[in-house]
């Protein structure tokens, strides 16, 4: 077990290294960077003082050096102008666009993103699993058709459109503004109980909007998985033992049908971060999605690089978690091969 963990952590480190290289060089692919663009702009306007500052920053962050050296400095394995100071040392760099350290720019957004996405994952499972069980055990009943129909609508509705519609009608019917993650007066305030309450009430709509597509997809897949398992012999055995229908269902086929979803946890997290960008923009949620978008557009390389690395870490850790969960839940995987 420990050997397995060490091996996995070693491969994860290698994976992260490769991802960091890819991320950095893809960000650097377009010609120029944030500062050279800015200098060109300032030059057109003839502002020499700002130009001096920008050129200072270029030297400060070594942007005049070759890309591979910049990469190594960013990573923290080559001394830059400030000595060894990169991702490995916990220095996430400088955001040129916001003129602040990256850590200050993403700060709260990072945790709010995790919070929103966690809420979405919980929502998806809480809603999808009961509906899927209902639909699978009553295949081809009226209820099954209704659930299927609603599922298709959920799959087919673009979530940003739903966000817009809700934004409008919530305001019109209930007079509440659902933009943002808390009311305007709390922005930039320290965390208080009122602020948390405001956060929770604002969380409802984004959760539903972002989670709807995932819920619909999960209902469809869970229903199909469960239908496969319901035909299996061991379920008949459970019934022949005299188990009641609900207990027999939950203990045997339902547990079997969970495996693919646990295997999916690793994919779920990054998908939710990148998938909710449009909704975050529409609902003006202070999550990292919109920040990433603007950072990529303006070639704010350290900011974009950090967010992408963050998503990559989520993926890799999610994969590890799902593998461990699978091994814990499924003895065939835990002891696989040793028949």
């Amino acid at each position: 077990m420990i050997r397995f963990l060490l091996r996995r952590i070693a491969t994860m480190a290698v994976t992260m290294l490769i991802i960091s290289a890819l991320v950095f060089f893809i960000i650097k692919l377009p010609p120029g960077d944030f500062l050279t663009n800015q200098i060109a702009e300032l030059r057109a306007q003839g502002e020499s003082a700002s130009i001096a500052k920008a050129e200072f920053l270029i030297r400060q962050y070594g942007l005049d050096k070759p890309a591979w050296q910049q990469y190594l400095v960013w990573l923290g394995v080559m001394p830059g102008p400030n000595g060894f100071s990169g991702l490995l040392q916990g220095d996430w760099g400088w955001s040129f666009e916001y003129d602040k350290p990256v850590v200050d720019v993403v700060g709260d957004a990072l945790w709010l993103t995790l919070l929103v996405n966690f809420a979405v994952v919980i929502f998806i499972h809480l809603v999808a699993i009961p509906i899927a069980i209902y639909s699978a055990t009553r295949q081809y009943s009226i209820g099954d058709y209704i659930a299927t129909f609603i599922g298709y609508i959920g799959l087919a509705t673009p979530s940003f459109l739903l966000a817009l519609i809700l934004l409008y009608y919530m305001n019109r019917w209930f007079g509440i503004s659902i933009g943002g993650l808390f009311d305007a007066q709390y922005a930039g305030q320290p965390w208080t109980w009122d602020k948390v309450q405001s956060l929770l009430s604002h969380l409802v709509v984004p959760t539903v909007v972002i989670g709807l597509g995932g819920t619909a997809a999960m209902i469809r897949r869970m229903r199909a998985n469960l239908l496969d398992e319901l035909g299996k012999q061991y379920y008949v055995t459970a019934k022949a033992k005299g188990l009641g229908p609900t207990k027999a269902l939950l203990k045997y086929p339902f547990r079997m049908s969970l495996n693919p979803f646990i295997a999916d946890i690793g994919n779920l997290l990054p998908q939710l971060v990148s998938g909710s960008v449009l909704v975050s923009l529409v609902l003006s949620l202070p999550t990292v999605g919109p920040i990433l978008l603007s950072a990529l557009k303006s070639q704010d390389q350290f900011l974009a690089g950090f967010i992408l690395m963050f998503v990559a870490v989520l993926t890799v850790v999610g994969m590890l978690v799902s593998d461990l969960l699978l091994a814990w839940l499924d003895p065939r995987i835990r002891m696989g091969g040793a028949r």
Binding site: Y234, K241, G244, Y252, P331, R334, G337, A338
Partner: protein, 621 residues
């Protein structure tokens, strides 16, 4: 006379499907007397499993009991209940199910949940029906596991089904059914998926437990040999109706109904005369086979196929976390020789390496050492060294017939596409010529030309297997490797396919390597039989010699374990109780083979060879 445990009266079960209604069980009436075994016999689709499901009310949603009664007289409290009148999910039904009437199923792997331990699944059955705590339930579970023959019941509690052999899994199923001490045990093909020696042990166990607890057994099976050995009364079903019912004596000594008589004639037996043919229930006539001439080909001087000291090891990675690996020798120095135009039967239980041997002959697996020699008349050549044109020719000459006729035909290809595919791959003939060839192939295997445009799903198991044979014949091969070609088929259909293979052999001069676990089938079709165990060929002989004088202890055990559909030749259960026949290191001297050794083959009479352990061989030399 005391009341029977279960009286089935006019039981009728209807299925409603998209294609219309279908009556699976039609007015079934029979009794299960107290403490007796009633066998329900019939081909697949005769409604015997549906009857069992109806008794427990675990029918699929499409099925419904539309008429009749199932009167259950519980000997423990003298009460009697009509099961058919109870709702399927009522409390009364829940307490009957698994409590008073228990059931075991055919496939012990899929009948147990792979995610829960044996102990969990067995003690659960007790805890549903008796008011006991987990500790007591575990104790009772250990007792019952011990009773059904688990060597270490305490460890078994925490064992998962996939860690057990098929025989032990079925024992766990039996333990689960019997822990509540039911009055009636329904066994739905309990031994069909097991090897013969294991089958004999399980049947023995059920009989013993029956004597101990006085329960009644409803045994569902298609195997008349099993019926002859364990049943007290027999009910023969065909298409949902009873054809004939009576005591075992009456049924086997004096079968009245033509269907039952036909069924008896279709089963291969050991005592058959050399030229005796099986009579399938529905004979299939092949129009062109009689008039067919064998293709003129150069005959090899020696055997057409020869296997010399073939050895293959596999590396197993055990455990997901441990990452340790160990080596398993699947095939150990196997020698075989197949003379042209004859059949070599390769017999052994599951996991003995017979399929690995046939795959190495096909060149689908590379052996660690040893040779496969093929002789098409130009002298023997090592198959694993063939390249280019010679390899293509070899592939054309040796074809394969698979076990499962359902998964070996691509469901998305029509019969025409399936049968022409080998011709297209080898680029033989124009499309007109291929069409003629395919028509001819269908005639040979006794199928109608109208089959050409249909898809495999519209054929029955036996018809599909004949399609598989037709496909194997498309390239005019000289050798056919048949891997359990009839083990997935009903007895009546099995007879059809075996007869077809025999006819094809005499008409086309084919040579067969026939791999099977069924000794009676191999006896019917093969000229020479090789018995395989744990990767060794333990005995090889012409079939008359092998059955008259089996020398090796494993062969003897194998022969003793086959249930014969003849009540004058019952199984000798006491002899089979000892076990350990398939452990080379547990064989008595001089047959004992120490781990890692190969032993040597010794000829004891012309053509009859037995494997002996090394030390004796050294002494003899």
């Amino acid at each position: 006379m005391e009341a029977p445990i279960l009286s089935v009266r006019e039981l009728t079960v209807d299925f409603s499907t998209d294609a219309g209604n279908f009556r699976a069980v039609d007015g079934l009436t029979f009794d299960i007397p107290r403490g007796k075994t009633v066998a329900l016999v019939g081909e697949s689709g005769s409604g015997k499993s549906v009857t069992a499901q109806a008794i427990l009310q675990i029918l699929s949603k499409k099925a419904k009991i539309t008429n009749g009664s199932l009167l259950f007289n519980d000997p423990s409290n003298g009460g009697s209940i009509d099961i058919a009148s109870l709702p399927a999910e009522s409390d009364a039904m829940h307490s009957l199910r698994g409590g008073r009437i228990a059931m075991i199923f055919q496939e012990p792997m899929t009948s147990l949940s792979p995610l829960h331990t044996i102990g969990d699944q067995i003690s659960e059955a007790l805890m549903i029906h008796a008011d006991v705590d987990q500790a007591t339930a575990n104790q009772r579970t250990m007792d019952v596991l011990n009773r059904v023959g688990f060597p270490d019941p305490k460890r078994a509690l925490r064992t998962y089904p996939f860690e057990l052999s098929g025989g032990l899994r079925q024992r766990a199923m039996i333990a689960m059914a019997l822990i509540t001490r039911p009055a009636l045990l329904i066994a739905d093909e309990p031994t069909t998926a097991l090897d013969v020696t294991t089958q004999a042990q399980i049947l023995d166990l059920i009989k013993e437990l029956q004597v101990e607890t006085g329960m009644s057994v409803l045994l569902i099976t298609h195997d008349l040999g099993v019926v002859a050995n364990v049943a007290d009364e027999v009910v023969v079903m065909y298409r949902g109706r009873i054809m004939e019912a009576g005591s075992r004596e009456e049924i086997f000594r004096n079968a009245q109904h033509p269907y039952l008589q036909a069924l008896m004639r279709a089963v291969p037996r050991f005592a058959m005369a050399d030229d005796e043919r099986l009579t399938p229930i529905r004979e299939v006539k092949s129009a062109s086979l009689a008039s067919l001439d064998a293709p003129q080909r150069v005959q090899p001087a020696g055997p057409i196929l020869k296997v010399e000291r073939l050895t293959k090891s596999f590396t197993l990675r055990s455990g997901w976390f441990a990452g340790k690996s160990r080596e398993i020798r699947a095939v150990s120095e196997v020698d075989l020789s197949l003379p042209a135009g004859t059949t070599l039967g390769l017999v052994g239980e599951s996991g003995c390496g017979k399929t690995t041997v046939s795959k190495m002959i096909m060149r689908a697996i590379t052996p660690n050492s040893g040779k496969v020699l093929f002789d098409d008349g130009t002298g023997p050549k090592d198959v694993h060294k063939l390249e280019g044109e010679a390899l293509t020719t070899y592939r054309r000459s040796v074809q394969f017939i698979f076990q499962d006729p359902f998964s070996s035909l691509n469901p998305r290809m029509t019969v025409y596409e399936l049968l022409t595919e080998p011709l297209r791959i080898h680029d033989i003939g124009t499309s007109d010529e291929r069409y003629e060839r395919v028509k001819h192939l269908l005639e040979m295997v006794g199928l109608d030309q109208r089959a050409l445009r249909r898809y495999p799903h519209s054929f029955s198991g036996g018809q599909r297997q004949r399609l598989g044979i037709a496909r194997a014949l498309a390239l005019e091969p000289r050798v056919l490797l048949c891997d359990e070609p009839v083990s997935a088929l009903d007895v009546s259909v099995q007879a059809q396919v075996l007869n077809l293979l025999k006819d094809l052999q005499s008409a086309l001069g084919l040579s067969y390597l026939f791999v099977s676990h069924n000794l009676a089938v191999v006896d019917y079709i093969a000229d020479t039989i090789a018995v395989m165990c744990r990767g060794y060929i333990v005995e090889e002989a012409p079939k008359s010699s092998l059955f008259r004088n089996p020398v090796h202890p494993y062969t003897q055990a194998l022969l003793a374990a086959v249930p014969d559909p003849d009540i004058d030749r019952p199984l000798d259960f006491t002899k089979l109780r000892t076990g350990g026949f398939s452990q080379p290191s547990a064989w008595p001297e001089p047959f004992r083979i120490a781990p890692g050794e190969f032993g040597v083959m010794k000829e004891i009479e012309p053509g009859h060879k037995v494997r002996l352990g090394r030390p004796t061989a050294r002494e003899a030399a």
